[in-house]
């Protein structure tokens, strides 16, 4: 393939994405020091009437007199926690299924890939809603639910990668030295699939943040009063005529985080493809 003129910018976008993700992580980690007020307590005197941005409250207050900025910062903690934990589950299931199916092939591959097709047939959010309704509400439920519904993409991509890797000479060499399938998969195939896994991890994280926001918008996220971005948006729906800022700010933070992970993921992907072409 001939080089494309757009590719020079691609590398910058990776760094922009990394910076956005870094900023998101930093805001989440340092929320207790950055937040001007307690996110759970009414700090404005005007309860029942949200205050617009400005004055003592940089991003305004909500209908219960709580500071929006502080709630956003603490909401970032929940989003980051869910993003990391749920993506870890997603990627673990996906990599396990993908490596085993791709490496062993045969009926194991057929079985695992059909199982993947089955899960793919369910609209992710609907399946997540059903699972969330069946389990006790809480953080653990969110991690598991998101992990269970979103591993399919990772599994398919990793399987495709492993199909190519298992034919490599070094795998053949290790096999002829008598390495067991388990060892071959873990020490020879898996490390070489890491770049792909990293890209899929970044892209799944953006998906995780969106799913988590969707679940908390529907009231199936972290239980109140813990601030979460999706919940802040759904709460703002009652007041959008008089207090649109309640709706705008949490949305902007979600878009910021998701765009960051997407830029990082697509950037790494482009980078990897360039590397593969030069090799």
């Amino acid at each position: 393939m001939t080089p494309r003129p757009g590719q020079g910018r691609g590398r910058h976008l990776t760094w922009v994405g990394a910076a956005m993700v870094g900023l998101f992580g930093l805001a989440a980690l340092s929320a207790p020091w950055l937040a001007p007020y307690d996110p759970l307590r009414a700090v404005a005197e005007s309860i029942g009437e949200p205050l617009p941005p400005g004055g003592g409250f940089l991003l305004g207050t909500d209908e219960l007199g709580r500071d929006v900025l502080s709630r956003l910062l603490y909401g970032a903690r929940i989003s980051l926690l869910v993003a990391l934990a749920a993506t870890t589950i997603t990627v673990s299931i996906g990599v396990a299924v993908g490596v085993v199916a791709g490496y062993l092939g045969g009926w194991v591959d057929t079985l695992l890939m059909r199982a993947t097709d089955v899960v793919l047939s369910f609209p992710a959010l609907l399946l997540a809603i059903a699972l969330a309704a069946l389990f006790e509400p809480g953080l653990m439920t969110i991690f598991v639910v998101i992990g269970l519904v979103s591993w399919t993409g990772v599994a398919r991509t990793v399987r495709g990668e492993v199909l190519g890797l298992r034919e490599r000479d070094y795998v053949l060499a290790a096999r002829s030295l008598g390495a067991t399938p388990g060892r071959l998969m873990i020490s020879h195939v898996l490390p070489n699939a890491l770049p792909t896994i990293l890209v899929m991890g970044a892209l799944s994280t953006s998906n995780t943040v969106l799913l988590d926001a969707g679940l908390s918008y529907l009231g199936l996220g972290v239980p109140v009063p813990t601030p979460s971005w999706g919940r802040m948006i759904s709460d703002s729906q009652t007041y959008y005529r008089i207090a649109p800022w309640l709706m705008v700010f949490p949305g902007v933070t979600i878009v910021f985080a998701v765009t960051g992970f997407n830029l990082l993921g697509y950037g790494l992907l482009a980078w990897r493809e360039r590397g593969a072409r030069h090799a």
């Binding site: 494309r4 059909r114 369910f122 959010l125 699972l131 918008y217 529907l218 959008y240």
Partner: protein
């Protein structure tokens, strides 16, 4: 013909997997499936009857076989709250969702193919970069938030559209909400497909024999670039349904998605599982239809297989 049969056979296998998964959700995960089917307020006698009816004392495979039998006959159970048949409740809401989904599809396909073609032909131009960045941001928007922003700006502030409800003018905003993300996705895909096609020999041949660019791009290139898009439509349908759930909630649209959300609020498990099973079945069927379409419009695959 064998290709068609093989695909139908696989989709039946997938459907069995789908019913097995929903069966597990309904009967294996809950500690008391009878209570799950009857609701939290059911008295002990009703529970006993239901246990008997569902055969909960039987081995799991027997239970699954009975469950499959009920599903095949269209018996998805009854709602806790209204005692209405689940399938009936679903079919009542289906037209509204179909209306919304179709409008979304037409909008997003038109915009996606248009922008994808434009940016692929003008690769590297400012338009290309702007559309690329725009589509990345659009793909990162939470669909429910986009819906609320459109509702606030276009319906509440500018009063171009109604604030909520069901009708022709009412479908525009929810359909745009869903279509913006989809269109961004189609734009990227068509862009990539068209770039690949434009590097083919037959395109160079078409240029070389002096055809006007419009006919080279429109006739020779675009048709071949659109075909692969058809394959992903089936799977996209699952993604679209996820968006439908959120969008219908924002716009109070009386469809399947809102039915599921209402069921969650009422902890109406049979209704939730019914909508989940029904949507998954829809997705599987959509995939079969799409596969057939693909076989029908791309002769390369037919000849390759036979």
């Amino acid at each position: 013909m064998t290709a068609v049969l093989r695909r139908v056979a696989w989709s039946i296998v997938i459907l069995i997997g789908v019913t097995w998964l929903t069966f597990m959700l309904a009967f294996i995960i809950p500690s008391d499936p009878a209570r799950t089917a009857a609701g939290p307020k059911a008295d002990p006698q009703t529970l006993a009857t239901i246990r008997q009816e569902l055969g909960l004392d039987q081995p799991v495979l027997v239970q699954y076989w009975r469950y499959l039998g009920r599903v095949v006959r269209g018996d998805f159970g009854r709602s806790y709250l209204t005692r209405q048949r689940v399938l009936e409740a679903i079919l009542e809401r289906l037209p509204a969702t179909a209306y919304l989904a179709l409008t979304t599809f037409v909008l997003s396909a038109l915009v996606g193919v248009g922008l994808g073609a434009l940016t692929a032909i003008r690769q590297g131009s400012r338009t290309d970069v702007a559309v690329l960045l725009g589509s990345l941001v659009l793909l990162s928007l939470p669909v429910f938030w986009l819906g609320m922003v459109l509702l606030y700006c276009l319906a509440y502030r500018l009063r171009w559209f109604p604030l909520g409800g069901f009708g022709v003018a009412h479908v525009v905003l929810p359909a745009c909400t869903l279509a913006l993300g989809q269109a961004a996705y189609y734009t990227r895909l068509l862009h990539a497909n068209l770039r690949t096609v434009l590097e083919q020999e037959y395109i160079r041949a078409a240029h070389a024999k002096g055809l006007p660019p419009r006919s080279v791009y429109g006739k020779h290139a675009l048709r071949n670039a659109v075909i692969p898009l058809v394959t992903i439509l089936g799977l996209d349908f699952a993604g679209l349904m996820s968006g439908v759930v959120l969008t219908e909630t924002v716009f109070n649209w009386p469809g399947l998605g809102r039915l599921a959300v209402e069921a969650v609020f009422n902890q109406d498990i049979p209704l939730i599982l019914g909508t989940v099973l029904f949507s998954a079945m829809l997705v599987v069927m959509a995939n079969v239809v799409v596969d057939m379409l693909y076989l029908a419009i791309d002769p390369r695959i037919r000849y390759h297989r036979s």
